[in-house]
Symmetry: C2
Subunit: 193 residues, 2 copies
């Protein structure tokens, strides 16, 4: 099954000029984005090539920007936040309306969160603490989108785009987005999906 | 239930002079250590105060050094690798035989991996891909130690110290140590332990 994680990064800076030495502050919680990339792809020896991670940056100065990471094409990526942050900076160097590949496996465009959801062409799951338990779910599609909020969560307007998405819960606790991705992968790994 | 994660960081530098800008290389995979600290403690809004994380650094120039993080005392810690790396540097500034608190909730000593295991005074679980499935396990102690290897795994000598530990598996995949911690927490959260 193909897994596609979608994150809205409400404050992530939409310019290459954020400081790698201050991804939480100057980057607008770019550290969360970097850890979500790590969680989406890294196995002990290799990358998950059946996974995509799509993140929409909504911070200043030029929102929105969308980055799409494709596990089957990624190269030159270490698991640490700084390495991933460096590849994000590179992607932000030259953002155009049309999507293009900045480094292998990383695609950048001017799409926004609603564009990404409208383009989703299979089942959409909204990871939410009030949803049904993921362990009781069956996944019959060959592709599933999992939508995550960042530290600020999703707005009512965002949630209105997710009316047809199924709400699924992965934990009795409220967790960081990158931790949620790990748990979704684990549930699906156990189901051999 | 109190959860205590133990990591052996085979190459982690035992001097404050590692570069925060190169935690994977110069720090001897200090990025893994930092992410394990994140995984051990961070909830969306707060820290897990029922958790400890103990890590033994075995890298140059002055091995071993052990850092012990106590969730119920931690302060000044952000979830990003660089912030956690900075607190680790601070702890490495002045390492003595006797354990002392470098910043709130972080304790440093000259203990080694075998010392840590010998001091463990409750059930020890060795997280290992050949173990029994964690979801079928019951945990009846009020304190459990979970032992993790880093990217190099544990040596035969290390494993001989774990003869009485139960081998438990958390995934059909081989995962990074920080991802393992997330999954253990999730299983215990679901069991309300």
């Amino acid at each position: 099954m193909k897994k596609i994680f979608i994150l809205k990064a409400s404050k992530a800076k939409t310019s290459k000029d954020f400081l790698l030495n201050d991804m939480p502050g100057d980057g607008g919680r770019m550290d969360i984005v970097a850890r979500c990339v790590n969680s989406s792809f890294f196995l002990s020896h290799g990358l998950r090539n059946d996974t995509e991670f799509i993140v929409t940056f909504e911070g200043e100065p030029n929102p929105p920007v969308t980055l799409r990471f494709k596990g089957d094409r990624l190269k030159y990526m270490g698991p640490d936040e700084r390495c991933i942050g460096g590849l994000i900076k590179k992607a932000l160097e030259n953002v155009t309306e049309e999507e293009k590949e900045s480094t292998p496996g990383i695609f950048v465009s001017k799409k926004g969160f609603s564009d990404i959801l409208k383009e989703a062409d299979s089942d959409i799951v909204y990871l939410h603490e009030d949803g049904e338990d993921i362990q009781t779910q069956t996944f019959s599609s060959d592709k599933v989108y999992f939508v995550l909020g960042d530290h600020l969560g999703l707005s009512e307007e965002d949630e209105s785009l997710l009316e047809n998405a199924k709400r699924i819960s992965i934990s009795p606790m409220v967790l960081h987005a990158d931790h949620c991705i790990i748990i979704v992968h684990n549930v699906l790994d156990r189901k051999n999906l």
